[in-house]
């Protein structure tokens, strides 16, 4: 299957600062993808470049095999047949809901236009609101109108810029699911941009984690969580702590809690200090374990507790424990590591210091 959207080595800058550097990715027809990253990482600039609002310094963007952006050419946004949805909804305040949804249907007249608008409103479950004005609707309704407006002209690609960020927590999740299902049903290809990993995970098949103008990792949610390729991705996605360790012969990493097997980054020779990513669900409560850690803080999450634990060495770990296991602060908790995926990064802080103290051994 050919790719609908191809982004090839694009670089963008604002004034003199490069905000996007050498970014590439493809979207095949029907994919729901997401660019995820902290604010200022360049994700919105990529979206704007795809829509034709931001020039490229290098690279190219192709849609359906046609080059739409390159350093010396920009196809005008109005000719790209893209849909766009924004954080602030961007509904036209002086137009009714009907006219907003009909705004992109310039080629349609009379009955055909009416029928299209009605079917769009039905799909976002807002039929009957045609004559309302945007300010009379709730935030969630406004966003659904914005979606209907963007989808009505049957765009080749839908771009969404933080579409759920202005909504309250509960609504954003239900709306996220609703929008995802709607897009799947219609086979729409969509690229969403968000700083919120929950939005990203609910919504997309593929997520590109961005940092400082680069895509650090382009993968599905599961892989991003369990097999992050960089410290940044590991930090940014989910919670977790890092356990100091040292590479032994082969692919073995020695830590204060266990000897761990797994892939070690290619640059790490035996003896090299490393950090091992430990997710809260990797730390399992086990009274029979030889290791224990002191509870330094706890956070009740309803179905579980998130404990912050401190080992004798001072290293802190997070542990997700079933909420029936109610332990007091200061209590010693027996723990063991259950790592399915070993994620190891070179320990940059320790490399210079040459840590003198060897980790405890079991």
């Amino acid at each position: 299957m050919s790719n609908l959207l191809e982004v090839r080595n694009i670089t963008c800058q604002f004034e003199k600062t490069r905000v996007v550097e050498d970014v590439s990715f493809d979207l095949s027809e029907g994919t729901l993808a997401c660019l995820l990253g902290p604010s200022g990482c360049g994700k919105t600039t990529i979206l704007r470049a795809i829509a034709g609002f931001h020039p490229l310094i290098s690279g190219e963007i192709c849609l359906d095999g046609e080059r739409i952006s390159s350093p010396d050419y920009i196809l005008k946004p109005e000719l790209r047949q893209l849909g766009m949805v924004f954080q602030d909804h961007a509904l036209f305040p002086h137009l009714s809901v009907f006219d907003n949804v009909a705004a992109g249907l310039q080629d349609f007249r009379g009955k055909a236009k009416k029928a299209l608008v009605h079917s769009m409103l039905e799909r976002v479950r807002l039929n009957g609101k045609e004559s309302r004005f945007p300010h009379e609707l709730s935030g969630g309704q406004q966003q659904r109108i914005a979606l209907a407006r963007a989808l009505a002209p049957r765009p080749r690609l839908l771009l969404m810029d933080e579409p759920f960020s202005n909504l309250d927590v509960e609504l954003r999740e239900t709306l996220g699911v609703e929008v995802r299902d709607l897009l799947r049903d219609s086979g729409t290809t969509c690229l969403l941009v968000t700083h919120d990993q929950q939005d990203a995970f609910t919504f997309s098949d593929k997520v590109g984690v961005m940092n400082d103008g680069h895509i650090e990792q382009w993968d599905n949610a599961y892989t991003l969580y369990h097999e992050p390729v960089s410290r940044f991705v590991a930090d940014f996605i989910g919670q977790g702590a890092f356990l100091k360790g040292r590479v032994r012969e082969g692919d073995i990493v020695e830590t204060e809690l266990a000897m761990l097997h797994g892939k070690v980054p290619p640059g790490c020779k035996p003896g090299c200090p490393v950090k091992v990513l430990v997710r809260p669900d990797d730390v399992v409560h086990n009274d029979a374990s030889a290791f224990s850690a002191r509870i330094v803080s706890r956070n009740f999450r309803g179905s579980s507790y998130l404990y912050t634990l401190e080992l004798d060495s001072g290293t802190q770990l997070l542990s997700m424990v079933h909420s029936h296991h109610d332990h007091a602060l200061g209590e010693q908790l027996g723990i063991e590591l259950e790592l399915d995926h070993l994620v190891v990064f070179p320990d940059e802080s320790a490399r210079d210091e040459q840590i003198s103290q060897t980790p405890h051994q079991a």
Binding site: G52, D72, I74, K76, P77, F86, D88, H94, A103, A150
Partner: protein, 567 residues
């Protein structure tokens, strides 16, 4: 995949350069036109046809400079004291009619300085009602029997301009005081400073940038004034410029005086610029809502009411009252077909200027929006706004120079090729007058339109563009309905300012062509103030419209949108 790749490789590599952007070309063009007068003056001063600098310096220039400096110093001190004290009272004290005074204090802004000068002259001159009254009370008969200050003097000029220009300072100082967190002031009180000392040590310094901007704006108006100083025979640079140009017909000399005035303008502009830069950093922008105002015990609060009433009564009530009564007394003499023609001329010129200023401002502001991060467009918008600081008389000289050059060029071409003379095409036509108005007031219009455009979110443009609307349709279909308020304000302010404009109109108008402003000036110069009253009243009434708008904004909320704050 391979299919698309092949398609790309076999297709001839066609690098489509971005087409010439008509928006930007148009913006550059109009900005260049707007900057033309200023450039012309600088050019003339640098390469004069006939160097009169030595002559100027040895004769009249020192005198012009001295009176200009004294006038500006006097007006500066006067507007500072009046503006800051009243702004402080209405923001920090509670007294009877305080809410009303918050907007009443703006009213004098509606009166051109020359009109108030005519009114006070009529009131205070030897034959005026005040001196008549004094004579009848004390039995004096001749002017030498008693001493009475002459209003037509430097002191009088300072007083008159101070009375109508203090609202600039009042407006900005008030906004600055309101923006200050009361915590800073209270902290100072708790540290043991008295109310007044806290004002001097804390509130005033924090508001200083805003006050500096207000004073700079008032002084720009002072430098611009011609009617008052001419009537009071104060020999400022503007007066000198008129003498040299209209009296001696020496364009080079006029341009050299104009350049001297531009130096003042540059100083004032830098003052204003640094004020605004500091403002950003001094003021949190966060507004404190329920400010607790000091209450003076018992009837003492009425003293504050009285204090605030002085500038309103002196700067508005008395002159307008007198104006109305004179206009009624002289109505039959004034309401003539000629008067109606002049009024129509004013209306026509001012509304053309307003319309053109709106269109150019829309073009430049929208182009700037289309090229959001372009420094070039920022410069273009600033260059197009240069005119607001240039005094009308200076601007007029700057218009004459290139227009005359153009006329001569076209004329010589026509003679050479077609054997006839085209005469004056642009100079001495109403077009030149409208051109000057547009250049001088474009800044106000750009400021107002840019600020209302900036309230429309960017995503609105992107949404419309992705829905298939080209840039110009986004402007007409989606922006215009949203910013019509800003457009209206822009048009109104340009209209009213053009209506009041005197110095440039006097220099540039066609022979025997009168507007209300020149008509008022003409009659007043001939000591026929009564006959000029009706025209002056029209100008004041027109001037009241934007001031009332401004007042409504002030009384409705604490948000002050000053005319020029947006610049």
């Amino acid at each position: 995949m391979p299919e698309t790749g092949a398609k790309q490789n076999t297709a001839p590599i066609r690098t489509v350069r971005m087409r010439v952007d008509l928006w930007q070309v148009g913006s550059f063009l109009f900005a260049a036109l707007a900057a033309l007068p200023v450039l012309a003056i600088i050019w003339l001063a640098l390469f004069p046809e006939e160097n009169i600098w030595p002559h100027l310096i040895s004769t009249s220039l020192p005198g012009y400079l001295k009176s200009t400096l004294i006038l500006m110093l006097g007006v500066g001190v006067s507007v500072f004291l009046t503006g800051v004290s009243t702004a402080w009272l209405v923001t920090h004290y509670e007294f009877p009619l305080r809410r009303e005074f918050e907007w009443l204090l703006l009213l004098p802004l509606a009166i051109p300085a020359y009109v108030i000068a005519y009114m006070y002259t009529d009131l205070l001159e030897f034959a005026g009602p005040v001196q008549q009254l004094l004579r009848s009370i004390f039995g004096w008969e001749l002017a030498r029997d008693y001493w009475f200050p002459n209003i037509r003097s430097m002191g009088g000029g300072i007083l008159m301009m101070g009375l109508v220009l203090y609202p600039y300072v009042y407006m900005l100082a008030r906004a600055a005081f309101l923006e200050q967190s009361p915590n800073q002031f209270e902290a100072s009180r708790l540290l043991g400073h008295s109310q007044f000392k806290s004002f001097l040590k804390v509130s005033l310094p924090i508001a200083r940038p805003a006050i500096v901007v207000g004073v700079a704006l008032a002084l720009m108006e002072t430098l611009n004034d011609f009617g008052t100083i001419d009537f009071f025979a104060i020999q400022t640079l503007t007066a000198g410029l008129y003498d040299v140009w209209l009296g001696m017909g020496n364009l080079g000399g006029a341009a050299q005086i104009a350049t001297t005035m531009l130096t003042f303008v540059v100083l004032l502009l830098s003052l204003e610029y640094f004020g605004r830069r500091r403002q950003r950093f001094y003021q949190s922008g966060q507004r404190f809502k329920a400010k607790t105002r000091m209450r003076l015990p018992g009837h003492h609060a009425w003293w504050l009411t009285l204090f605030c009433a002085v500038p309103v009564v002196a700067g508005f009530v008395i002159p307008v009252g007198l104006l109305v009564s004179l206009a009624i007394d002289y109505f039959d003499e004034s309401w003539t077909p000629q008067f109606r023609l002049y009024a129509f001329n004013s209306l026509l010129l001012s509304s053309s200027a307003a319309l053109i200023a709106i269109l150019i401002a829309l073009l430049i502001s929208y182009t700037r929006r289309l090229n959001r991060h372009s420094r070039t467009m920022l410069v273009v918008s600033r260059v197009a706004s240069l005119g607001y600081a240039v005094p009308g008389a200076v601007l007029a000289i700057g218009v004459i120079v290139p227009f005359a050059a153009w006329d001569n060029w076209v004329d010589s071409l026509a003679r050479q090729w077609f054997g006839f003379s085209t005469g004056l095409l642009l100079s001495g036509t109403v077009f030149a007058v409208v051109f000057a108005y547009v250049v001088r007031f474009l800044a106000v219009s750009i400021g107002s339109i840019e600020s209302s455009l900036s309230k429309v979110s960017d995503s609105m443009d992107m949404a419309a563009r992705t829905l298939g609307y080209p840039a110009h349709k986004v402007l007409t279909r989606f922006h215009l309905p949203l910013i019509k308020g800003g457009i209206l304000t822009a048009g109104m302010v340009v209209f009213v300012d053009s209506m009041k404009e005197l110095p440039a109109t006097l220099i540039l108008r066609p022979f025997n062509f009168e507007t209300l402003a020149t008509y008022v000036y003409q009659f007043a110069s001939d000591e026929m103030i009564g006959e000029s009253a009706l025209g002056a009243l029209f100008i004041v009434l027109a001037g009241l419209v934007p001031v009332i708008f401004l007042s409504r904004t002030i009384s409705r909320s604490n948000v002050v949108q000053t005319r020029r704050e947006t610049l």
